[in-house]
């Protein structure tokens, strides 16, 4: 009861005395958009054209688990448009390390959709910047409500998490019914804590050092399907799912390198439906 009346008075006090302060403090925050600066730093002042209608970024508006936020980028080029996506960069504006990942797509892989899972640290815009085969950059954005994803200890079973680091899986998924020709779907998964470096051990007061997959490549036969330059915003146990056009190669290979320069490799025969 006492607590309640304190709060009521407290709110009233805030309204009278605190209001001016609140407005004064809040005002600069609204103009504090990191994107203009990020855009200059990350894309070296190259012009970014509106990518609406060419690429689409799907993310939940409100993330269920800020440490595992699913994200999909799709090419939505109009019929007859011969361009394809060469490179894709995901920027989570308010994350401590905003560039979550850069993907390079194999020249003939024709990747038309890619999904991964990211950490989101606070309410933020997320930008997807695609370089199309015309050499120009196109951008789309989404606003996401999530908090604490980078400092969140995503590891749910700390003992089990140490087992099998670097284990890889490659799944060749049934092509979507609507996919024409040789368009396939696959998922590459790697077991890795992908520590963000922002989780603090309270006993030692030291941050758990960043330890993440910085480089991941997938080939079919001798041709690159995709490559990822990853950062700390990619969730634990990185997973990338993508649609691609099979080149008929008999096997898929993957190689991942983490920040301790451990190299992990995997090889899988191409499924019949994938050749």
């Amino acid at each position: 009861m006492i607590g309640k009346s304190v709060r009521t008075v407290c709110l009233a006090g805030l309204a009278v005395i605190g209001f001016g302060t609140l407005v004064a403090m809040a005002a600069p925050a609204q103009n504090d958009d990191p994107w203009p600066q990020l855009k200059r730093q990350v894309f070296k002042n190259q012009p970014l054209a509106d990518g609406s209608g060419l690429i689409a970024l799907d993310m939940p508006y409100r993330a269920e688990d800020a440490a595992v936020v699913p994200l999909t980028v799709r090419a939505t080029l109009p019929a007859g448009d011969k361009r394809h996506v060469k490179r894709l960069t995901i920027v989570i504006d308010h994350n401590p390390s905003p560039v979550a990942a850069s993907f390079t797509f194999g020249a003939k892989a024709d990747i038309s959709a890619i999904s991964t899972r990211v950490r989101v640290n606070s309410y933020t815009n997320v930008h997807a910047v695609a370089e199309l085969s015309d050499g120009k950059l196109y951008v789309v954005k989404r606003f996401v409500k999530a908090a604490g994803g980078c400092s969140a200890p995503a590891i749910k079973d700390a003992s089990a998490a140490k087992i099998g680091i670097g284990a890889m899986r490659f799944r060749q998924l049934v092509p979507a019914a609507a996919s024409p020709g040789r368009t396939r779907q696959a998922q590459i998964m790697i077991r890795h804590p992908n520590n963000s470096g922002l989780q603090m051990n309270q006993i030692t007061h030291l941050y758990i050092p960043p330890f993440f997959v910085k480089d991941l490549k997938v080939w079919q036969g001798k041709e690159l399907v995709l490559a990822m330059d990853g950062g700390i915003s990619i969730s634990e146990n990185p997973s990338i799912r993508f649609t691609y056009r099979s080149n008929g190669g008999k096997a898929f290979r993957a190689q991942a390198v983490d920040t301790k320069d451990h190299v992990y490799k995997g090889e899988w025969p191409a499924a019949r439906s994938g050749t």
């Binding site: 304190v6 925050a29 309270q202 799912r241």
Partner: protein, 328 residues
Amino acid sequence: MTIGKRRSNRNNKTRRLCSFACCAALLISGVIPTFSAHGADKIAPLSVSEVAPGVFVHFGATALMNRENEGAIANVGFVVGERAVAVIDTGGSVREGRELLAAVRAHTKRPIRYVIDTHMHPDHVFGNAAFAGQGAVFVGHKNLPRALATHGPYYIANFRASMGAALMDQVRIIPPTLLVADRRDIDLGGRHLTLRAWPTAHTDNDLTVFDRKTGTLFAGDLLFLRHMPVLDGSLVGWLKDLVGLARIPARRVVPGHGPLVRRWPQGLADERRYFECLAGNIRAMIKNGVPLAVAAKTACASEKNRWKLFKAYNARNTTAAYAELEWE
């Protein structure tokens, strides 16, 4: 590196300044001479029921933690022996912890020798500071110190928004010093409590407390009723632990959330049904190549009307279960 960080600090600072302004307003106006949250003297005892002789429980509200409910959403309690008292979970704020302490004092003058944390979550351990420095030993699962070290600072930072500075400023992370690796008995004088550390399920540091004298089991958050279960450990592990829990010859069970259970092991049925639904649905979706984002929206919709807070947790549970099961 610093762009995002600076902003969140500024937001916190804004909030801190506001609460400072608010306190200053109180001091100047002199409406309330002492801020009640800081003094134990004005704390009213938490309402408790004596569910068995010497076994007291406060049943928390089925809600998310916030300023208004002071974090008092979990079931917390205490057991009184001939020589000593054991407190089982301390609540979601130091304020709730103090109210629980007042409830203990309203029933007995015997010393509190043990404070048992059933697991790491804020609604169960944020009240620990109310019991510190009074000779009680903090008890927990062998994994609890590590879990509090990694999660504690994150919880303290993240619950500020919903709980407010007045409640959060008092919270201290107090790790246990008496650790349970498997089973351990503690003696309260004329009654023994059997503490049992479980393999990863709700979290990787779940502990149950069984009062052999009355057959009362404090299940912690291994058991939810009405309140949607929250998966922060392992779905497969939890389904396995349910088998072990069902074998405990309990006459009554205090869940972590929800009402007292008098029929055991029937009281596990709702939780088992939901977990089997999750495991079945998600395994099938993974097999059929349904992506995580779609699974999170569609899994176990049949459970929607069977739980409170379904919307707050089902997609989250699904995400956690998917990430676990895709590595089977």
